[in-house]
Amino acid sequence: MTPRRWRLRDLVSVLRGLDRTRLAGVLDFSYQHFALGDVLTSQIIQSCQAIERGCGAIDCYVFLDPERPAAPLQRDITPENYWTHLDNLFPALLCAPMLASVRVLRDRLSVGFTLAALAASRVPTWPSLRDQLRRHMPYPLGHEAINRFHARHGYIPTLSSPRGYAGWARRFVARHLSDRFLVAVNLRQSQLTPTPVTTYRDAPLAEWYEFFRAVSRGYPNVRFLVLGGFGEWEHGLLRHDNVLVPRAMGLTLAHELALLHGSRLFMGSSSGFATMATFGDRPYVITGLERYFAAHAGMEPEAERYPFAAPDQYLVWRREDAALLLEYFERLYRTCRGQDAREVPARHVCADV
């Protein structure tokens, strides 16, 4: 057997060999956040850049440094448990439009080699290589690039059901929830998790319970899918006959995102699931937005919707109560039913009121 030899010119040739027609979306968790909303927003920004640069696909690179598994802000993520967080968050990576591959790299040499190859091949990347070297990412992630894309093109790329789950969601709904009007809801409850943060953003549960009861009386065919981590819902929620908790069936974030995508509308607190709705095409109402975020989103505080949103996609800047939730629900419900009647006049529409 001929001994294999290492040559510098071979290295240079390999480093220059990447495809420039694909955008490299990099998630380096040593400085970027393990957070659903941030990952989803990153993917939309990457998609906007990919389209503008004429790239046909996006390769998602996930860099994990076992010695520095998370940004300094997320101290609860340690070398011992970062795989759990990756396992939980991974489905969010599958929602990106134009996704061609996901590469999870925790080998230090592979990370360095990949960065060198991206630079040497001049592959379009997000974040830029300069920001990656400086480990710089401003949070909260703004919508500047997305708004700019919308202004130029009149649309934005949308998130889809996680790859591999659209068929599952259709089957699940047909088997367990056929002929129901599905509403995905997310009641942020950080105070029920082991690492509570910004608990003032949590949803007022009593108001939501009152809202569920009111809808149960007036709209018996409506089913609410409560999304969120297993720790984020109260035990009593299961006693509502119009509520289904996917996590109580052993389902994961991937299934929840697929069900959100397959629901008729979304209602919930400003959170990661709300980001999924924000960059989707379903009607929604997102409550409890913080005023400071308006500047990052490129709009005025108290604006009724994002610049790129559809007419039936609403923002509410104050804490929700049952009356407000019911008002928006009825408004969106009427819109959905109107669309049903227009799109498929002959289709059976549930007589549920």
Partner: protein
């Protein structure tokens, strides 16, 4: 391929070393690590340049660090079991480097990708201690540098006793490494929900989405009867089920459907490893239980004869009646927890 390293040979320019044992490589590795820890962009730049050279040297000089598999069907239990067996086989390959965490896996997904959920497959990779890098390429995309596929994960895989002997215990333990979070979650759950009881982890046949409801319809009455008759035991179902999800189906009395109680696949694998007894086939959960050498009734309908080794019972009859009768004998042999008889009275 290379000569054995000799002291001083490197300084004289005569040394030939295996990757990464050469003094220059080892020094560069150490420097790369130090640079990688640095906080300035200059450190980071130095790290990138050095790591690129070292990685390329690894690709050229190291033996078989990259492995490839294909998937062209739903990632059901068979695929998950196949992935676990494949990892064991890779660890036993004499060409595999013995250093920890050196293999880089590529999975090429083909066919109807919208019908191929990958969550459980990813969970299994996260539990495993075998792969350093893990890349997924969907149909039509290139996987640069990949060789021919070494494993088609969707091909039927059957694990029997002889196969287990071939796989070996140590590789199984690396595939089913007991991680910190799942271990904590399982112990927390057992202490709260089943204090002092003898825990039986039960695995039933699943549909491609991971639900066992079809098998559970057959097994549920038998499991409930067992739970009533054999006091002091708790039956923990490791598979997904619709029971307990509120508006869809009510909780199942007598059987703890743990996947609906906040335990994910990684937690369920940990439960299979931490339970007192295992009942089920030699699927993914069965392999996890074997990795922890748990006593149990392992169902192997394809086997020609039944056998028992200490507390590992191999049964060919996988009907609920026969399986639970064997489980009852095993539980008696293990000895039920103190107070079980009092509870029964």
């Amino acid at each position: 391929m290379f000569e054995t390293p000799r002291r001083g040979a490197w300084l004289l320019g005569r040394g030939r070393y295996r990757w990464p044992e050469g003094p220059a490589d080892r020094f560069a590795m150490r420097l790369c690590r130090r640079l990688g820890r640095g906080r300035s962009w200059l450190h980071r730049l130095g790290f990138v340049v050095l790591a690129a050279g070292l990685k390329h040297r690894e690709q050229v000089l190291a033996d078989r660090p990259d492995v490839t598999a294909t998937l062209s069907g739903p990632a059901g239990m068979n695929v998950l079991t196949s992935l676990a067996v494949w990892q064991c086989e890779l660890l036993q390959d004499p060409r595999t480097l013995r250093l920890p965490r050196t293999m880089h896996a590529r999975l090429s997904v083909r066919g109807d990708v919208e019908e191929m959920p990958l969550d459980r497959l990813i969970s299994l990779v996260c539990v495993s201690d075998v792969f350093d890098n893990f890349c997924i390429f969907w149909e039509g995309t290139d996987s640069p540098g990949s060789g021919p596929a070494s494993r088609a994960l969707e091909h039927p895989v059957s694990v029997d006793r002889s196969e287990l002997t071939r796989l070996g215990l140590e590789p199984l333990q690396r595939v089913f490494a007991l991680r910190l979070d799942p271990r904590r979650a399982v112990h927390g759950y057992l202490k709260v929900a089943h204090p002092g009881r003898l825990i039986v982890a039960v695995s039933l046949p699943e549909d491609p989405d991971g639900f066992c409801d079809a098998a559970l319809r057959l097994w549920a009455p038998h499991l409930q009867r067992f739970q009533q008759e054999v006091s002091g035991t708790s039956l923990c179902l490791l598979n997904r089920t619709v029971h307990g999800a509120g508006a869809v189906a009510q909780p199942l009395p007598g059987v703890a459907c743990v996947r609906g109680l906040g335990l994910g696949l990684a937690d369920a694998l940990a439960l299979a490893q931490l339970a007192d007894v295992y009942l089920g086939g030699l699927d993914l959960f069965g392999l996890a239980a074997m990795a922890a050498e748990r006593p149990g009734v392992y169902l192997d309908p394809a086997a020609t004869e039944e056998s028992r080794t200490d507390l590992l019972w191999w049964r060919t009859d996988d009907s609920p009646d026969a399986s639970l009768a064997a489980l009852r004998l095993l539980v008696d042999e293990l000895g039920r927890p103190a107070g079980a008889d009092r509870e029964r009275a």
